[in-house]
């Protein structure tokens, strides 16, 4: 194997290799063997211990040790327990879970059954976004096949263990990624989170002990049994074992899904696997962790990626979205974009998230329009910190991260907006002007023809003019001009 290969496919081991609609291909790739072995050779306690030993941590964002979570649910006594797969991937710009369900649905089914055996549950539920029709369809096909083969249902592998899985649909609410909100949603309520404790492991779906893991976490489970906890723990770093799937997107050449061992650096991911920045532009920032994460910069490029390092850098692992930004991206706008998202997705239950995020957004909006003051920057920071400190659930507790991390890492850019009313990236519409550079204009009319609001005037072969009062700053003229005759300032 060559030196520059950075990826190892563990969770994605079958994605792109097998036909996701064929259980036979899954079985040929060692499928359901882990379930068979766990059921016939291990006690629930032993199997759970194997997961603890593997060091696997939740891939949905929190990074809580998966085995420990299982163990808590296992120890609670109850006549009925549930296994829930969180497939409500809501981070904009993340599609790991969708890809796994579309490419390898059986691995999730197998893992849920193992989980059921470990904690003593005979029923599983997959909570999946309605926006993922193909994933739903493939999951349904896989469930039918598994039932047909007797790998779901009663007396699985002749061991007397029963397990079956139902699908529940999300309906477009990011907050339902929070496990208590997800449970409320599965019960047919508004997806509002409730405070913990009680944790779902104590009182979850229908008040019964419930273990919730996300898709990628489950996809790792069969491998741990097939290859051993030790093998799994040998990948990655000491405190973050195994690999992590990232959805690389944004201004990067090789947009796509990658899986790297924990501890790989951001530089390796962006420049080696990702092929560097699109159109030869300059790298500016990488956003990890979705709306809960932060924007990291040049100085973080050599940080090995794991749960703890990312937190320390002011961002977080999140579910694995990784959006790369270049010199043309304004960090105030990016922060505002995320806040716009949070404001729309907040459930509205607690004050800091409901009102606080709205106010954060409004402050950012004022700043991006050139109407902010230094005082507003102080307010942003205090408000951001209080929202983190006082919000009820994970959404509010992390929503100011994009603001605080961009303030930490791109302070000059904020200052430029408030002190000079200038957007260094030339992105904030209210702070830019498109103008014709008269020396360069040849009167080709390309700009005027492409202007959507007809605000450019000028005869053919004569110098053109932009009517600033009508200009909507769409940038079409700038893009269409082949003579460098339009300037942005």
């Amino acid at each position: 194997m060559s030196e520059n290969i950075k990826q190892i496919r563990v969770a994605l081991r079958n994605c792109g290799f097998i036909n996701p609609e064929s259980i036979d291909e899954y079985i040929a790739a060692d499928g359901y063997e882990a379930l068979g072995r766990v059921l016939t050779e291990k006690t629930p306690e032993e199997a759970t211990k194997e997961i603890i030993d593997s060091g696997l941590r939740g891939r949905g964002g929190g990074g809580f040790p998966t085995g420990v979570k299982w163990d808590i649910a296992r120890k609670v006594e109850s006549d009925q327990k549930y296994v829930v797969c969180n497939a409500d991937e809501g981070d904009p710009g993340a599609f790991m879970d969708r890809s796994i369900l579309e490419g390898d649905p059986h691995s999730v089914i197998e893992a849920m059954a193992i989980n059921g055996y470990c904690i003593g549950a005979d029923k599983g539920l997959v909570y999946i976004r309605a926006e993922y029709p193909l994933a739903i369809e493939r999951l349904k096909t896989a469930l039918d096949q598994a039932r047909e083969y007797g790998l779901l249902g009663e007396d699985i592998f002749g061991t007397g263990f029963n397990f079956d899985i139902e699908i529940r649909y999300g309906a477009g609410a990011f907050v339902c990624g929070e496990e208590t909100a997800l449970i409320n949603s599965m019960e047919g309520h508004r997806g509002e989170p409730t405070f913990k404790p009680p944790f779902p492991a104590q009182s979850g779906y229908l008040g019964k002990p419930t273990n919730v893991n996300n898709v990628e976490t489950f996809a790792n489970i069969p491998v741990i049994f097939n290859k051993g906890a030790e093998w799994f723990a040998s990948i990655g770093t000491e405190k973050s074992t195994g690999t992590k799937v990232f959805a690389l997107a944004g201004k990067i050449n090789n947009v796509g899904l990658i899986e790297v061992p924990m501890g790989t650096t951001l530089r390796e991911v962006i420049f080696e696997i990702g092929g560097g920045i699109k159109d030869g532009k300059k790298f500016k920032s990488v956003q990890t962790g979705g709306p809960s994460g932060g924007c990291l910069t040049e100085k973080h490029l050599d940080t090995p990626i794991d749960f703890d390092n990312l937190l320390e850098s002011g961002s977080m692992m999140g579910s694995g979205g990784m959006i790369v930004m270049d010199e043309d991206d304004c960090m105030v706008s990016v922060a505002r974009f995320y806040l716009d998202f949070t404001v729309e997705e907040s459930c509205g239950k607690c004050t800091p998230c409901r009102v606080g995020n709205k106010r954060l957004y409004e402050l950012l909006d004022i700043i991006s329009k050139g109407n902010g003051s230094n005082n507003d920057l102080d307010k942003l920071r205090n408000l951001g910190e209080v929202i983190i400190d006082t919000s009820l659930c994970g959404l509010g507790q992390t929503s100011p991260n994009p603001v605080l991390s961009t303030m930490d890492n791109f302070w000059d850019e904020y200052l430029a907006h408030v002190e000079d009313q200038r957007c260094p990236a030339g992105q904030c519409k209210d702070l830019i002007r498109y103008e014709v550079i008269e020396e360069n204009c040849v009167g080709c009319t390309a700009c005027a023809r492409n202007c959507p609001v007809n605000c450019i005037s000028g005869e053919r072969k004569e110098i053109h003019h932009i009517d600033q009062s009508l200009c909507i700053k769409c940038g079409a003229c700038f893009e269409k001009c082949r003579f460098n005759a339009i300037s942005v300032s």
Binding site: C15, N19, P20, D24, T40, F95, E148, F157, N253, G256
Partner: protein, 132 residues
């Protein structure tokens, strides 16, 4: 289909399935099976993977190539969708990116039929669990 009643059942089933596949894929016979996998996840389909798969299915048969065309999940190369993996008997599989009908035609005519290299191969950039 018979139910899997025990771990032994499963293992038997797996061995049979694996030997079927290896028989097909490792055939030294020049007329042996060609295997084409089209990545058909959401982004592949959005880029036209369905048409590409259809093209391979219809044209390989038309042009008398003994091949199996299947769909698969996301290979991870979203930037290069649609992506197609082609495995000739006895050879390592190769993945092509940006496969449209024209490219598919070229792959059939040059690579599959004559074994000539065709541009657009995406280099393998990962290890599998078995190799690790």
């Amino acid at each position: 289909m018979a139910k899997v009643k025990s771990l032994a059942d499963l293992k038997k089933m797996k061995e049979k399935l694996q030997s079927d596949i290896s028989l097909r894929e490792n055939s030294k016979h020049p007329e042996g099976m060609v295997r084409v996998k089209v990545a058909m996840a959401t982004c592949g389909i959005a880029s036209g993977a369905k048409d590409v798969m259809e093209f391979f299915t219809v044209n390989l048969q038309k042009r008398n190539v003994d091949a199996i065309v299947t769909q698969t999940g996301c290979m991870g190369y979203c930037y290069a969708e649609p992506t197609v993996e082609v495995k000739l008997p006895g050879q390592e599989p190769v993945v092509y990116g940006f496969v449209d009908i024209k490219k598919a035609d070229e792959i059939i005519e040059k690579y599959i039929k004559q074994g000539e290299p065709v541009d657009g191969i995406i280099p393998v950039n990962y290890e599998t669990i078995d190799k690790k």
